[in-house]
Symmetry: C2
Subunit: 234 residues, 2 copies
Amino acid sequence: MIRAHADTTNKETIMASEQIENYIKNIYKLSSNEGKVTTSSLSEKLQISPASVSEMIKKLAEERTLTHTPYKGVELTEEGKKLALRIIRKHRLWEMFLVEVLHFRWDEIDDEAERFEHIMSDTMEEKIDHVLGHPNIDPHGDPIPTRDGEIHCTMSYPMIESHPGMRVRVLRVSDSNSDLLKYVSSIGITLNKQIRIKQKMSFDNSLLVVINKKEINISSTIAENIFVETIEKE
Amino acid sequence: MIRAHADTTNKETIMASEQIENYIKNIYKLSSNEGKVTTSSLSEKLQISPASVSEMIKKLAEERTLTHTPYKGVELTEEGKKLALRIIRKHRLWEMFLVEVLHFRWDEIDDEAERFEHIMSDTMEEKIDHVLGHPNIDPHGDPIPTRDGEIHCTMSYPMIESHPGMRVRVLRVSDSNSDLLKYVSSIGITLNKQIRIKQKMSFDNSLLVVINKKEINISSTIAENIFVETIEKE
DNA sequence: TTATAAATTTAGGTTAACCTAAATTTATAT
DNA sequence: ATATAAATTTAGGTTAACCTAAATTTATAA
Ligand SMILES: [Mn+2]
Ligand SMILES: [Mn+2]
Ligand SMILES: [Mn+2]
Ligand SMILES: [Mn+2]
């Protein structure tokens, strides 16, 4: 049996299990990235069979965390979105804490946060937020939602879309692959680092850039996962 | 399904589930407090029916975490003891961390640690130990086992056994009741606090003591849960 | 020493969250 | 328009960890 950490009954809300929280969080993420959320996209993301996902969706629809149009897709209700943002907040606050206080590297923290987001009490969420001075981004540059579900996205675009001559600043790096994060920092890229784009290679779409006065070639895959803002147009 | 956080396979050891870890930890605690561990004492402690406990014991005996003499009781194997101490270490390190870094009070931390002890990775255990400067007691004065299972108990006795005229120092307070902890600190008792015993009341076994120059009466129940060492005999 | 009481184990059943295989619905390509 | 393919749902089954009730073993008290 999985027992929730707080009282499982809270007026009308029933505490969600760890697995249910993972479903909700990932539905939120898929919908804000791709728009529509299907059984198969969730199945793919959670690495759970489509049949199991379909079952769980039915259950979540019954308890009004989301709406389900059979064979079409799902959408979180307001209640569901609120829950999702709360889980994401805990995840990102905890990542920040791991980096700032326990000196983990940004490529080591996602797995830890993936578990801890479900365990963290509201009290602890507050204390961590306080100790960190109410940060608004996590170590990968992702925005940390406020306690009541506001989320402010920074305006950034994938570096792959930048043009030669530009100077850009790194605002976010996709946290989906820890090896990518490790590599990215090994070539000197951190949040807020400034980068000059020298050349775009037509044969493979890679970029020739200058970081810390050194020229480096960045593959298109990597350039798609680094999000920047423009500092200087040419 | 409960999925363990690390690889569930580690050469020959299979990662224990959260519930199994709770069984193991509490068997260890019962055996070091009472000596023998029976189905009913465990059932009582874990608040799980004797039937379920009996089943689980059978399972743990099969995988050699403990030995079981049916109708008699259980005893942890060396392997089991090691595991228990590791969980206790994580629990107590985390309690220390909550108090020192997140400024929780000593009466707020047990529930948090109860969940976190199962979630903490070995890496995190190390980082926390390091940030805290390798503490050897937790916020309640309980010893923190080393990573390889050494545990050094301080020599202390329940304050109820002290005699008028003595000066004692608080080395440990039982963490089993958070209201007791809250009350104890409200009357000025913390770890290392010095207390002078003035009188022992014969009618109810309570103690009249001096703390911070103030006279206070301490009930026998409380005096049984505060552990001290003698500083001055008379 | 035997009868009753207490502790323990076994039997049979539930629930959440998964799975594979089969059935159904929707999409796509001639 | 229809046949095939893909996506989704339903059916039926598993496992861990619990439960209550019944059976068994051990302890205790007349
Ligand atoms: Mn998670
Ligand atoms: Mn992140
Ligand atoms: Mn626990
Ligand atoms: Mn403690």
